[in-house]
Protein backbone atom coordinates (compact mmCIF):
# COMPACT_ATOMS: atom_id res chain seq x y z
CA UNK A 1 0.00 0.00 0.00
CA UNK A 2 1.73 3.13 -1.22
CA UNK A 3 0.73 6.28 0.61
CA UNK A 4 -0.23 9.06 -1.71
CA UNK A 5 2.26 11.82 -1.94
CA UNK A 6 0.89 15.30 -2.50
CA UNK A 7 2.85 18.46 -3.05
CA UNK A 8 5.19 19.12 -5.89
CA UNK A 9 8.15 16.96 -4.91
CA UNK A 10 7.20 13.26 -4.95
CA UNK A 11 10.84 12.16 -5.33
CA UNK A 12 11.95 13.94 -2.20
CA UNK A 13 9.06 12.70 -0.12
CA UNK A 14 9.56 9.19 -1.55
CA UNK A 15 13.24 9.07 -0.67
CA UNK A 16 12.49 10.60 2.73
CA UNK A 17 9.99 7.83 3.35
CA UNK A 18 12.34 5.07 2.32
CA UNK A 19 15.13 6.61 4.39
CA UNK A 20 12.87 6.59 7.44
CA UNK A 21 11.71 3.09 6.70
CA UNK A 22 15.22 1.70 6.34
CA UNK A 23 16.43 3.53 9.42
CA UNK A 24 13.51 2.15 11.41
CA UNK A 25 13.94 -1.33 10.04
CA UNK A 26 17.67 -1.33 10.77
CA UNK A 27 17.15 -0.16 14.33
CA UNK A 28 14.49 -2.76 14.91
CA UNK A 29 16.52 -5.59 13.39
CA UNK A 30 19.62 -4.70 15.40
CA UNK A 31 17.58 -4.50 18.56
CA UNK A 32 15.88 -7.79 17.72
CA UNK A 33 19.18 -9.63 17.18
CA UNK A 34 20.67 -8.46 20.45
CA UNK A 35 17.94 -8.68 23.07
CA UNK A 36 16.02 -11.31 24.95
CA UNK A 37 12.28 -11.48 24.25
CA UNK A 38 11.48 -11.75 27.97
CA UNK A 39 13.24 -8.46 28.69
CA UNK A 40 11.39 -6.87 25.79
CA UNK A 41 8.04 -7.87 27.18
CA UNK A 42 8.99 -6.44 30.56
CA UNK A 43 10.19 -3.19 29.02
CA UNK A 44 7.02 -2.96 26.93
CA UNK A 45 4.93 -3.32 30.06
CA UNK A 46 6.82 -0.55 31.85
CA UNK A 47 6.51 1.68 28.80
CA UNK A 48 2.76 1.20 28.58
CA UNK A 49 2.47 1.86 32.30
CA UNK A 50 4.34 5.16 31.85
CA UNK A 51 2.06 6.18 28.98
CA UNK A 52 -1.04 5.36 31.01
CA UNK A 53 0.43 7.36 33.90
CA UNK A 54 0.83 10.40 31.61
CA UNK A 55 -2.76 10.16 30.39
CA UNK A 56 -4.01 9.62 33.94
CA UNK A 57 -2.16 12.70 35.24
CA UNK A 58 -3.62 14.86 32.46
CA UNK A 59 -7.17 13.62 33.14
CA UNK A 60 -6.63 13.89 36.90
CA UNK A 61 -5.57 17.51 36.49
CA UNK A 62 -8.82 18.28 34.72
CA UNK A 63 -10.89 16.54 37.38
CA UNK A 64 -8.92 18.25 40.16
CA UNK A 65 -9.53 21.72 38.70
CA UNK A 66 -13.29 21.13 38.56
CA UNK A 67 -13.64 19.32 41.90
CA UNK A 68 -11.45 21.80 43.76
CA UNK A 69 -13.44 24.77 42.47
CA UNK A 70 -16.74 23.03 43.26
CA UNK A 71 -15.71 22.17 46.83
CA UNK A 72 -14.21 25.57 47.53
CA UNK A 73 -17.08 27.48 45.97
CA UNK A 74 -19.92 25.38 47.43
CA UNK A 75 -20.73 27.74 50.35
CA UNK A 76 -21.35 30.61 47.93
CA UNK A 77 -23.76 28.79 45.61
CA UNK A 78 -27.19 30.37 45.52
CA UNK A 79 -29.27 32.95 43.74
CA UNK A 80 -27.18 35.75 45.30
CA UNK A 81 -24.44 34.78 42.90
CA UNK A 82 -26.56 35.81 39.92
CA UNK A 83 -28.74 38.57 41.35
CA UNK A 84 -26.30 40.54 43.54
CA UNK A 85 -23.48 42.87 42.70
CA UNK A 86 -20.08 42.92 44.39
CA UNK A 87 -19.70 44.36 47.86
CA UNK A 88 -16.57 44.74 49.95
CA UNK A 89 -18.60 45.09 53.15
CA UNK A 90 -20.44 41.79 53.04
CA UNK A 91 -18.70 39.34 50.74
CA UNK A 92 -21.13 36.59 51.81
CA UNK A 93 -23.88 38.21 49.78
CA UNK A 94 -21.73 39.41 46.92
CA UNK A 95 -22.46 38.18 43.45
CA UNK A 96 -21.59 38.51 39.81
CA UNK A 97 -24.62 40.30 38.33
CA UNK A 98 -22.78 43.20 36.60
CA UNK A 99 -20.04 40.82 35.48
CA UNK A 100 -22.50 38.35 33.99
CA UNK A 101 -24.30 41.12 32.13
CA UNK A 102 -20.95 42.56 31.03
CA UNK A 103 -19.83 39.20 29.61
CA UNK A 104 -23.21 38.75 27.92
CA UNK A 105 -22.93 42.15 26.19
CA UNK A 106 -19.28 41.61 25.30
CA UNK A 107 -20.05 38.27 23.69
CA UNK A 108 -23.05 39.69 21.82
CA UNK A 109 -20.73 42.31 20.35
CA UNK A 110 -18.12 39.67 19.49
CA UNK A 111 -20.70 37.53 17.67
CA UNK A 112 -22.00 40.52 15.70
CA UNK A 113 -18.47 41.39 14.58
CA UNK A 114 -16.79 38.06 14.18
CA UNK A 115 -19.38 36.00 12.29
CA UNK A 116 -19.71 38.20 9.19
CA UNK A 117 -16.02 39.16 9.12
CA UNK A 118 -14.69 35.65 9.76
CA UNK A 119 -16.99 33.86 7.33
CA UNK A 120 -16.40 36.45 4.60
CA UNK A 121 -12.64 36.17 4.95
CA UNK A 122 -12.86 32.38 4.87
CA UNK A 123 -15.06 32.45 1.75
CA UNK A 124 -12.58 34.75 0.04
CA UNK A 125 -9.58 32.60 0.95
CA UNK A 126 -11.23 29.31 -0.03
CA UNK A 127 -13.35 30.29 -3.06
CA UNK A 128 -11.77 33.34 -4.65
CA UNK A 129 -8.11 33.59 -3.65
CA UNK A 130 -5.63 32.50 -6.28
CA UNK A 131 -2.96 30.74 -4.31
CA UNK A 132 -0.23 31.43 -6.84
CA UNK A 133 -0.44 35.13 -5.93
CA UNK A 134 1.91 36.20 -3.18
CA UNK A 135 -0.61 38.48 -1.47
CA UNK A 136 -3.06 35.62 -0.96
CA UNK A 137 -0.33 33.41 0.49
CA UNK A 138 0.65 36.32 2.71
CA UNK A 139 -2.93 36.68 4.02
CA UNK A 140 -2.99 32.95 4.76
CA UNK A 141 0.31 32.92 6.63
CA UNK A 142 -0.77 36.06 8.42
CA UNK A 143 -4.00 34.47 9.71
CA UNK A 144 -2.02 31.47 10.98
CA UNK A 145 0.43 33.75 12.75
CA UNK A 146 -2.31 35.86 14.32
CA UNK A 147 -3.82 32.70 15.82
CA UNK A 148 -0.61 32.29 17.83
CA UNK A 149 -0.16 35.86 19.07
CA UNK A 150 -0.51 35.97 22.89
CA UNK A 151 -3.80 37.40 24.06
CA UNK A 152 -2.15 40.15 26.06
CA UNK A 153 -0.69 41.56 22.84
CA UNK A 154 -4.27 41.98 21.60
CA UNK A 155 -4.87 43.85 24.84
CA UNK A 156 -2.02 46.19 23.94
CA UNK A 157 -3.48 46.61 20.45
CA UNK A 158 -6.88 47.40 21.95
CA UNK A 159 -5.34 49.91 24.35
CA UNK A 160 -3.25 51.70 21.75
CA UNK A 161 -5.57 51.53 18.73
CA UNK A 162 -9.15 51.23 19.95
CA UNK A 163 -9.26 52.79 23.41
CA UNK A 164 -6.74 55.49 22.60
CA UNK A 165 -5.01 56.35 19.35
CA UNK A 166 -6.83 56.27 16.00
CA UNK A 167 -10.29 55.13 17.15
CA UNK A 168 -10.15 56.83 20.56
CA UNK A 169 -13.30 55.19 21.92
CA UNK A 170 -12.24 55.37 25.56
CA UNK A 171 -12.63 52.57 28.11
CA UNK A 172 -16.07 51.42 26.97
CA UNK A 173 -17.60 47.99 26.58
CA UNK A 174 -17.68 48.21 22.78
CA UNK A 175 -13.87 48.58 22.82
CA UNK A 176 -13.65 45.35 24.85
CA UNK A 177 -15.92 43.61 22.33
CA UNK A 178 -13.79 44.76 19.42
CA UNK A 179 -10.57 43.61 21.10
CA UNK A 180 -12.01 40.16 21.84
CA UNK A 181 -13.40 39.95 18.29
CA UNK A 182 -9.94 40.60 16.80
CA UNK A 183 -8.55 37.98 19.19
CA UNK A 184 -10.87 35.17 18.08
CA UNK A 185 -11.14 36.21 14.42
CA UNK A 186 -8.28 33.93 13.24
CA UNK A 187 -9.87 30.96 15.03
CA UNK A 188 -13.18 31.58 13.26
CA UNK A 189 -11.49 32.05 9.88
CA UNK A 190 -9.52 28.80 10.21
CA UNK A 191 -12.60 26.82 11.31
CA UNK A 192 -14.80 28.29 8.58
CA UNK A 193 -12.15 27.49 5.96
CA UNK A 194 -12.05 23.87 7.08
CA UNK A 195 -15.84 23.67 6.82
CA UNK A 196 -15.92 25.28 3.37
CA UNK A 197 -13.10 23.08 2.12
CA UNK A 198 -15.04 19.98 3.19
CA UNK A 199 -17.81 20.77 0.67
CA UNK A 200 -16.88 18.66 -2.37
CA UNK A 201 -16.04 20.48 -5.65
CA UNK A 202 -18.67 18.46 -7.53
CA UNK A 203 -21.40 20.44 -5.71
CA UNK A 204 -19.91 23.71 -6.97
CA UNK A 205 -19.34 22.38 -10.48
CA UNK A 206 -22.91 21.10 -10.68
CA UNK A 207 -24.24 24.49 -9.65
CA UNK A 208 -21.97 26.41 -12.05
CA UNK A 209 -22.90 24.06 -14.90
CA UNK A 210 -26.56 24.88 -14.32
CA UNK A 211 -25.75 28.52 -14.99
CA UNK A 212 -25.46 29.89 -11.47
CA UNK A 213 -22.92 32.63 -10.95
CA UNK A 214 -20.04 32.12 -8.56
CA UNK A 215 -21.69 34.08 -5.76
CA UNK A 216 -25.03 32.28 -6.26
CA UNK A 217 -23.15 28.99 -6.00
CA UNK A 218 -21.48 30.07 -2.78
CA UNK A 219 -24.63 31.49 -1.21
CA UNK A 220 -27.07 28.73 -2.18
CA UNK A 221 -24.83 25.63 -2.19
CA UNK A 222 -21.51 26.02 -0.42
CA UNK A 223 -22.49 28.09 2.62
CA UNK A 224 -25.60 26.07 3.55
CA UNK A 225 -23.55 22.87 3.36
CA UNK A 226 -20.79 24.41 5.49
CA UNK A 227 -23.05 25.88 8.20
CA UNK A 228 -22.60 23.10 10.83
CA UNK A 229 -18.82 23.38 10.64
CA UNK A 230 -18.93 27.17 10.74
CA UNK A 231 -21.28 27.21 13.73
CA UNK A 232 -19.07 24.73 15.58
CA UNK A 233 -16.05 26.94 14.96
CA UNK A 234 -17.92 30.05 16.10
CA UNK A 235 -19.08 28.37 19.32
CA UNK A 236 -15.54 27.25 20.14
CA UNK A 237 -14.24 30.76 19.43
CA UNK A 238 -16.95 32.31 21.62
CA UNK A 239 -16.15 29.94 24.47
CA UNK A 240 -12.56 31.09 24.23
CA UNK A 241 -13.66 34.74 24.27
CA UNK A 242 -15.75 34.14 27.41
CA UNK A 243 -12.73 32.97 29.36
CA UNK A 244 -10.24 35.57 28.15
CA UNK A 245 -9.14 37.87 30.95
CA UNK A 246 -5.78 39.41 30.13
CA UNK A 247 -6.78 41.61 27.15
CA UNK A 248 -9.82 42.90 29.02
CA UNK A 249 -7.61 44.05 31.89
CA UNK A 250 -5.83 46.32 29.40
CA UNK A 251 -8.88 47.76 27.67
CA UNK A 252 -10.54 48.92 30.84
CA UNK A 253 -12.69 46.16 32.30
CA UNK A 254 -12.78 47.52 35.83
CA UNK A 255 -13.11 45.43 38.95
CA UNK A 256 -15.83 46.96 41.07
CA UNK A 257 -18.77 47.88 38.92
CA UNK A 258 -22.07 47.60 40.70
CA UNK A 259 -24.50 48.50 37.92
CA UNK A 260 -25.54 46.99 34.62
CA UNK A 261 -23.24 48.01 31.76
CA UNK A 262 -24.13 49.54 28.40
CA UNK A 263 -22.32 49.25 25.07
CA UNK A 264 -21.09 52.83 24.77
CA UNK A 265 -21.50 54.20 28.31
CA UNK A 266 -18.21 55.45 29.69
CA UNK A 267 -18.81 54.78 33.37
CA UNK A 268 -17.14 51.39 33.42
CA UNK A 269 -17.90 47.75 32.74
CA UNK A 270 -16.61 44.43 33.92
CA UNK A 271 -16.69 40.80 32.79
CA UNK A 272 -17.05 37.46 34.54
CA UNK A 273 -13.40 36.30 34.31
CA UNK A 274 -12.11 39.76 35.29
CA UNK A 275 -14.28 39.77 38.40
CA UNK A 276 -13.21 36.20 39.24
CA UNK A 277 -9.60 37.31 38.94
CA UNK A 278 -10.24 40.33 41.12
CA UNK A 279 -11.91 38.24 43.85
CA UNK A 280 -9.14 35.62 43.68
CA UNK A 281 -6.38 38.20 44.05
CA UNK A 282 -7.84 39.42 47.37
CA UNK A 283 -6.33 37.88 50.47
CA UNK A 284 -9.62 37.28 52.38
CA UNK A 285 -10.89 33.73 52.10
CA UNK A 286 -14.55 34.81 51.58
CA UNK A 287 -13.55 36.34 48.27
CA UNK A 288 -11.64 33.25 47.19
CA UNK A 289 -14.80 31.22 47.84
CA UNK A 290 -16.68 33.64 45.61
CA UNK A 291 -13.98 33.30 42.94
CA UNK A 292 -14.26 29.51 43.03
CA UNK A 293 -18.05 29.73 42.72
CA UNK A 294 -17.57 32.06 39.76
CA UNK A 295 -15.19 29.57 38.15
CA UNK A 296 -17.80 26.82 38.46
CA UNK A 297 -20.43 29.09 36.93
CA UNK A 298 -18.09 29.87 34.01
CA UNK A 299 -17.10 26.22 33.53
CA UNK A 300 -20.74 25.12 33.42
CA UNK A 301 -21.45 27.62 30.64
CA UNK A 302 -18.29 26.62 28.73
CA UNK A 303 -18.86 22.88 29.08
CA UNK A 304 -22.45 23.28 27.88
CA UNK A 305 -21.27 25.26 24.86
CA UNK A 306 -18.46 22.83 24.02
CA UNK A 307 -20.71 19.79 24.33
CA UNK A 308 -23.25 21.50 22.09
CA UNK A 309 -20.51 22.18 19.54
CA UNK A 310 -19.32 18.56 19.59
CA UNK A 311 -22.91 17.30 19.34
CA UNK A 312 -23.54 19.64 16.42
CA UNK A 313 -20.41 18.45 14.65
CA UNK A 314 -21.37 14.80 15.05
CA UNK A 315 -25.06 15.33 14.23
CA UNK A 316 -24.60 17.28 11.03
CA UNK A 317 -21.30 15.88 9.83
CA UNK A 318 -22.05 15.11 6.19
CA UNK A 319 -20.63 12.20 4.32
CA UNK A 320 -20.54 13.13 0.66
Amino acid sequence: MRPQSAGNSPEISGSERSRLATAGARAVTLAQLSSQPRGDRFKGGIFLALLLFAVAIALLGLVAIIVQAAVKGAPAFGMDLITNGPSTLNPEQSGFRPALLGTLYLILGVILLVVPLGVSAAVYLEEYADRTRWWNRMIELNVQNLAGVPSIIYGILGLAFIVRGPLDLGFILAAGSMTLALLVLPTVILAAREAIRAVPPSIREGSLALGATKWQTIRRQVLPAAIPGVVTGVILAISRAIGETAPLLLVGAASFVTFAPTFFGDNGYTALPVMIFNYAARPQDEFRVLAAAGVIMMLIVLLAMNSFAIWLRNRYEQQW
Binding site: G24, A27, G61, A64, Y124, I152, L185, T245
Partner: protein
Protein backbone atom coordinates in the same frame (compact mmCIF):
# COMPACT_ATOMS: atom_id res chain seq x y z
CA UNK B 1 -32.36 50.69 -42.66
CA UNK B 2 -31.54 49.23 -39.30
CA UNK B 3 -31.94 45.68 -40.54
CA UNK B 4 -29.56 46.29 -43.44
CA UNK B 5 -26.94 47.64 -41.13
CA UNK B 6 -27.13 44.56 -38.95
CA UNK B 7 -26.79 42.28 -41.93
CA UNK B 8 -23.93 44.38 -43.14
CA UNK B 9 -22.21 44.08 -39.82
CA UNK B 10 -22.50 40.31 -39.91
CA UNK B 11 -21.39 40.21 -43.48
CA UNK B 12 -18.29 42.22 -42.81
CA UNK B 13 -17.31 39.76 -40.06
CA UNK B 14 -16.97 37.04 -42.66
CA UNK B 15 -14.41 34.25 -42.28
CA UNK B 16 -12.02 36.05 -39.95
CA UNK B 17 -14.68 36.70 -37.28
CA UNK B 18 -13.18 36.38 -33.75
CA UNK B 19 -14.24 33.18 -31.89
CA UNK B 20 -17.33 33.63 -29.67
CA UNK B 21 -16.45 34.92 -26.20
CA UNK B 22 -16.83 32.47 -23.31
CA UNK B 23 -16.86 35.34 -20.80
CA UNK B 24 -20.04 36.18 -18.90
CA UNK B 25 -22.46 38.08 -21.10
CA UNK B 26 -22.83 40.92 -18.60
CA UNK B 27 -20.03 42.57 -16.61
CA UNK B 28 -21.64 41.38 -13.33
CA UNK B 29 -20.65 44.35 -11.23
CA UNK B 30 -22.55 42.84 -8.27
CA UNK B 31 -20.33 39.77 -8.28
CA UNK B 32 -17.22 41.92 -8.40
CA UNK B 33 -18.53 44.08 -5.56
CA UNK B 34 -19.08 40.97 -3.44
CA UNK B 35 -15.62 39.66 -4.20
CA UNK B 36 -14.18 43.02 -3.24
CA UNK B 37 -16.08 43.01 0.05
CA UNK B 38 -14.94 39.45 0.89
CA UNK B 39 -11.35 40.33 0.01
CA UNK B 40 -11.46 43.39 2.26
CA UNK B 41 -12.59 41.15 5.16
CA UNK B 42 -9.59 38.92 4.53
CA UNK B 43 -7.31 41.92 4.34
CA UNK B 44 -8.58 43.00 7.77
CA UNK B 45 -6.31 40.30 9.23
CA UNK B 46 -3.31 41.92 7.56
CA UNK B 47 -4.45 45.29 8.88
CA UNK B 48 -4.66 43.77 12.37
CA UNK B 49 -1.06 42.61 12.16
CA UNK B 50 0.04 45.98 10.82
CA UNK B 51 -1.87 47.71 13.62
CA UNK B 52 -0.21 45.47 16.20
CA UNK B 53 3.23 46.25 14.81
CA UNK B 54 2.57 50.00 14.60
CA UNK B 55 1.00 50.22 18.04
CA UNK B 56 4.02 48.40 19.49
CA UNK B 57 6.67 50.22 17.48
CA UNK B 58 5.76 53.87 18.00
CA UNK B 59 5.83 53.89 21.83
CA UNK B 60 8.82 51.52 21.76
CA UNK B 61 10.72 54.06 19.68
CA UNK B 62 9.86 56.73 22.27
CA UNK B 63 11.02 54.35 24.97
CA UNK B 64 14.40 53.83 23.35
CA UNK B 65 14.71 57.57 23.00
CA UNK B 66 15.03 57.69 26.80
CA UNK B 67 16.52 54.31 27.65
CA UNK B 68 19.57 52.85 25.94
CA UNK B 69 19.03 49.70 23.87
CA UNK B 70 21.75 47.73 25.65
CA UNK B 71 20.64 49.02 29.06
CA UNK B 72 17.22 47.53 28.31
CA UNK B 73 18.30 44.21 26.82
CA UNK B 74 21.23 43.40 29.12
CA UNK B 75 20.41 45.32 32.29
CA UNK B 76 19.95 43.13 35.35
CA UNK B 77 17.70 45.40 37.39
CA UNK B 78 14.01 45.98 36.67
CA UNK B 79 12.38 48.85 38.54
CA UNK B 80 10.54 51.01 35.98
CA UNK B 81 8.29 52.80 38.48
CA UNK B 82 10.96 53.56 41.09
CA UNK B 83 13.15 56.65 41.37
CA UNK B 84 15.80 56.25 40.13
CA UNK B 85 14.19 53.92 37.59
CA UNK B 86 16.00 50.89 36.17
CA UNK B 87 14.98 49.33 32.88
CA UNK B 88 17.01 46.13 32.61
CA UNK B 89 14.64 43.58 31.07
CA UNK B 90 16.68 40.48 32.01
CA UNK B 91 14.89 39.76 35.33
CA UNK B 92 11.43 39.64 33.77
CA UNK B 93 12.73 37.87 30.65
CA UNK B 94 14.31 35.23 32.88
CA UNK B 95 11.06 35.10 34.89
CA UNK B 96 9.17 34.29 31.70
CA UNK B 97 11.71 31.70 30.61
CA UNK B 98 11.77 30.16 34.07
CA UNK B 99 8.00 29.65 34.41
CA UNK B 100 7.83 28.41 30.80
CA UNK B 101 10.69 25.95 31.35
CA UNK B 102 9.14 24.49 34.50
CA UNK B 103 5.86 24.22 32.63
CA UNK B 104 7.48 22.44 29.69
CA UNK B 105 9.38 20.14 32.02
CA UNK B 106 6.02 18.85 33.23
CA UNK B 107 4.07 19.11 29.98
CA UNK B 108 6.53 17.52 27.52
CA UNK B 109 6.68 14.01 29.06
CA UNK B 110 2.99 14.06 29.96
CA UNK B 111 1.89 15.40 26.58
CA UNK B 112 4.10 13.09 24.52
CA UNK B 113 3.13 10.10 26.67
CA UNK B 114 -0.54 10.87 26.13
CA UNK B 115 0.05 11.36 22.40
CA UNK B 116 1.87 8.02 21.97
CA UNK B 117 -0.84 6.26 23.94
CA UNK B 118 -3.63 7.94 21.94
CA UNK B 119 -2.12 7.20 18.53
CA UNK B 120 -0.50 3.77 19.07
CA UNK B 121 -2.11 2.00 22.02
CA UNK B 122 -5.64 3.30 22.65
CA UNK B 123 -8.59 1.39 21.25
CA UNK B 124 -10.77 3.49 18.94
CA UNK B 125 -13.40 3.58 21.67
CA UNK B 126 -11.02 4.82 24.38
CA UNK B 127 -9.57 7.35 21.98
CA UNK B 128 -13.01 8.69 21.13
CA UNK B 129 -13.58 9.46 24.82
CA UNK B 130 -10.13 10.58 25.96
CA UNK B 131 -9.29 12.98 23.14
CA UNK B 132 -12.36 15.23 23.53
CA UNK B 133 -11.89 15.21 27.32
CA UNK B 134 -8.30 16.39 26.87
CA UNK B 135 -9.61 19.08 24.53
CA UNK B 136 -11.95 20.23 27.30
CA UNK B 137 -8.85 20.71 29.46
CA UNK B 138 -7.43 22.89 26.68
CA UNK B 139 -10.61 24.98 26.76
CA UNK B 140 -10.56 25.79 30.48
CA UNK B 141 -9.99 29.53 30.94
CA UNK B 142 -6.50 30.25 32.23
CA UNK B 143 -7.88 32.33 35.09
CA UNK B 144 -9.50 29.14 36.42
CA UNK B 145 -6.18 27.28 36.15
CA UNK B 146 -4.49 30.18 37.92
CA UNK B 147 -6.96 29.99 40.81
CA UNK B 148 -6.39 26.22 40.98
CA UNK B 149 -2.66 26.90 41.24
CA UNK B 150 -3.07 29.59 43.87
CA UNK B 151 -5.67 27.94 46.10
CA UNK B 152 -4.80 24.25 45.70
CA UNK B 153 -1.42 23.45 44.08
CA UNK B 154 0.59 26.05 45.96
CA UNK B 155 -0.38 24.99 49.53
CA UNK B 156 -0.17 21.28 48.64
CA UNK B 157 3.30 21.60 47.12
CA UNK B 158 4.46 23.82 49.96
CA UNK B 159 3.44 21.02 52.33
CA UNK B 160 5.31 18.31 50.42
CA UNK B 161 8.35 20.19 49.07
CA UNK B 162 8.86 23.34 51.19
CA UNK B 163 11.81 24.44 49.01
CA UNK B 164 9.42 24.90 46.07
CA UNK B 165 7.52 27.81 47.68
CA UNK B 166 9.79 30.36 49.36
CA UNK B 167 7.27 33.22 49.58
CA UNK B 168 3.89 31.53 50.01
CA UNK B 169 1.73 31.37 48.04
CA UNK B 170 3.92 32.65 45.17
CA UNK B 171 6.36 30.41 43.30
CA UNK B 172 7.74 30.20 39.78
CA UNK B 173 7.76 26.40 39.95
CA UNK B 174 4.09 26.12 40.94
CA UNK B 175 3.13 28.66 38.26
CA UNK B 176 5.08 26.51 35.80
CA UNK B 177 3.25 23.39 36.91
CA UNK B 178 -0.13 25.09 36.44
CA UNK B 179 0.96 26.32 32.98
CA UNK B 180 2.17 22.79 32.21
CA UNK B 181 -1.29 21.42 32.96
CA UNK B 182 -2.63 23.78 30.33
CA UNK B 183 0.05 22.76 27.78
CA UNK B 184 -0.46 18.98 28.00
CA UNK B 185 -3.52 18.89 25.71
CA UNK B 186 -1.83 21.15 23.13
CA UNK B 187 1.19 18.84 22.88
CA UNK B 188 -0.92 15.68 23.05
CA UNK B 189 -3.40 16.77 20.38
CA UNK B 190 -0.94 18.03 17.75
CA UNK B 191 1.62 15.23 18.29
CA UNK B 192 -1.16 12.66 18.10
CA UNK B 193 -2.25 14.11 14.73
CA UNK B 194 1.35 13.99 13.49
CA UNK B 195 1.88 10.39 14.57
CA UNK B 196 -1.40 9.25 13.06
CA UNK B 197 -0.31 10.80 9.77
CA UNK B 198 2.60 8.30 9.62
CA UNK B 199 1.57 5.72 7.01
CA UNK B 200 0.56 2.30 8.32
CA UNK B 201 3.06 0.64 5.97
CA UNK B 202 5.95 1.81 8.13
CA UNK B 203 4.42 0.20 11.22
CA UNK B 204 3.59 -3.01 9.39
CA UNK B 205 7.11 -3.28 8.00
CA UNK B 206 8.55 -2.95 11.51
CA UNK B 207 6.12 -5.52 12.89
CA UNK B 208 7.00 -7.80 9.99
CA UNK B 209 10.63 -7.66 11.08
CA UNK B 210 9.55 -8.86 14.49
CA UNK B 211 9.67 -5.67 16.55
CA UNK B 212 7.62 -5.13 19.66
CA UNK B 213 4.88 -2.55 19.95
CA UNK B 214 7.11 -0.31 22.05
CA UNK B 215 9.89 -0.42 19.44
CA UNK B 216 7.44 0.46 16.68
CA UNK B 217 6.17 3.41 18.69
CA UNK B 218 9.54 4.78 19.83
CA UNK B 219 11.86 3.92 16.93
CA UNK B 220 9.62 4.07 13.87
CA UNK B 221 6.52 6.20 14.42
CA UNK B 222 8.07 8.77 16.78
CA UNK B 223 11.07 9.62 14.55
CA UNK B 224 8.87 9.64 11.44
CA UNK B 225 6.55 12.21 13.04
CA UNK B 226 9.32 14.26 14.61
CA UNK B 227 8.70 17.51 12.71
CA UNK B 228 5.06 17.60 13.80
CA UNK B 229 6.05 16.72 17.34
CA UNK B 230 8.63 19.49 17.50
CA UNK B 231 6.04 21.87 16.08
CA UNK B 232 3.67 20.97 18.91
CA UNK B 233 6.40 21.60 21.46
CA UNK B 234 7.28 24.98 19.94
CA UNK B 235 3.61 26.01 19.87
CA UNK B 236 3.25 24.94 23.49
CA UNK B 237 6.36 26.94 24.35
CA UNK B 238 4.95 30.02 22.67
CA UNK B 239 1.72 29.57 24.63
CA UNK B 240 3.69 29.30 27.86
CA UNK B 241 5.64 32.47 27.10
CA UNK B 242 2.44 34.40 26.34
CA UNK B 243 0.46 33.08 29.31
CA UNK B 244 -0.70 35.89 31.58
CA UNK B 245 -3.37 35.00 34.13
CA UNK B 246 -1.63 32.00 35.70
CA UNK B 247 1.63 33.87 36.31
CA UNK B 248 -0.25 36.95 37.47
CA UNK B 249 -1.98 34.88 40.16
CA UNK B 250 0.69 32.35 41.12
CA UNK B 251 4.18 33.64 40.23
CA UNK B 252 4.04 36.75 42.39
CA UNK B 253 5.42 40.12 41.38
CA UNK B 254 9.07 40.36 42.38
CA UNK B 255 11.47 40.82 39.47
CA UNK B 256 14.12 38.33 40.67
CA UNK B 257 16.84 37.30 38.26
CA UNK B 258 16.77 33.59 39.07
CA UNK B 259 15.75 30.17 37.76
CA UNK B 260 15.03 28.92 41.29
CA UNK B 261 11.58 27.25 41.16
CA UNK B 262 10.84 28.28 44.75
CA UNK B 263 11.41 31.97 44.13
CA UNK B 264 8.72 34.47 43.25
CA UNK B 265 9.25 36.03 39.82
CA UNK B 266 7.70 38.70 37.61
CA UNK B 267 7.14 37.72 33.98
CA UNK B 268 6.84 40.02 30.97
CA UNK B 269 3.13 39.32 30.58
CA UNK B 270 2.44 39.84 34.28
CA UNK B 271 4.30 43.16 34.17
CA UNK B 272 2.20 44.34 31.22
CA UNK B 273 -1.09 43.30 32.81
CA UNK B 274 -0.20 44.73 36.20
CA UNK B 275 1.08 48.07 34.95
CA UNK B 276 -1.57 48.67 32.32
CA UNK B 277 -4.41 48.11 34.79
CA UNK B 278 -3.55 51.23 36.71
CA UNK B 279 -4.49 54.60 35.25
CA UNK B 280 -1.37 55.72 33.41
CA UNK B 281 -1.04 58.77 31.23
CA UNK B 282 -0.28 58.36 27.54
CA UNK B 283 3.28 59.28 26.65
CA UNK B 284 4.77 58.76 30.10
CA UNK B 285 7.82 56.51 30.31
CA UNK B 286 5.80 53.89 32.24
CA UNK B 287 3.26 53.78 29.40
CA UNK B 288 6.05 53.33 26.85
CA UNK B 289 7.68 50.59 28.93
CA UNK B 290 4.55 48.42 28.52
CA UNK B 291 4.95 48.61 24.78
CA UNK B 292 8.68 47.95 24.78
CA UNK B 293 8.13 44.79 26.83
CA UNK B 294 5.15 43.91 24.60
CA UNK B 295 7.32 44.29 21.49
CA UNK B 296 9.92 41.92 22.92
CA UNK B 297 7.17 39.40 23.79
CA UNK B 298 5.63 39.74 20.31
CA UNK B 299 8.97 39.14 18.58
CA UNK B 300 9.72 36.09 20.75
CA UNK B 301 6.35 34.41 20.11
CA UNK B 302 6.37 35.39 16.42
CA UNK B 303 9.68 33.60 15.85
CA UNK B 304 8.38 30.51 17.63
CA UNK B 305 5.07 30.51 15.72
CA UNK B 306 6.67 30.91 12.30
CA UNK B 307 9.08 28.08 13.10
CA UNK B 308 6.17 25.84 14.17
CA UNK B 309 4.03 26.68 11.12
CA UNK B 310 6.94 25.75 8.82
CA UNK B 311 7.47 22.43 10.58
CA UNK B 312 3.77 21.54 10.40
CA UNK B 313 3.80 22.30 6.66
CA UNK B 314 6.81 20.06 6.21
CA UNK B 315 5.28 16.96 7.76
CA UNK B 316 2.04 17.54 5.86
CA UNK B 317 3.96 17.59 2.58
CA UNK B 318 5.70 14.31 3.30
CA UNK B 319 2.78 12.11 4.17
CA UNK B 320 -0.57 13.43 3.03
Amino acid sequence: MEARDTIGAFGRGGADRPPPSLEASSPRYGEKLIKGFLASCAILSVITTTAIVISLLLPTADFFGEVGFTDFLFGTEWAPTFTPAAFGVLPILVGTISTSLWGMLFAVPMGLGSAIWLSEYASPKARKVVKPVLEVLAGIPTVAIGIFGLVFLSPVIEGVFPFMVNVPPFSAGVAGLAIGLMLVPIIASISDDAMRAVPGGLREAAYGLGSTKMKVATRVVFPAAISGIIASLVLAGSRAVGETMVVLLVAGASPNLTFDPGSSVLTMTAFIAQTATGDISTGSITYDTIFAVGALLFVLTLIMNIFAIRLVRKYREVYE
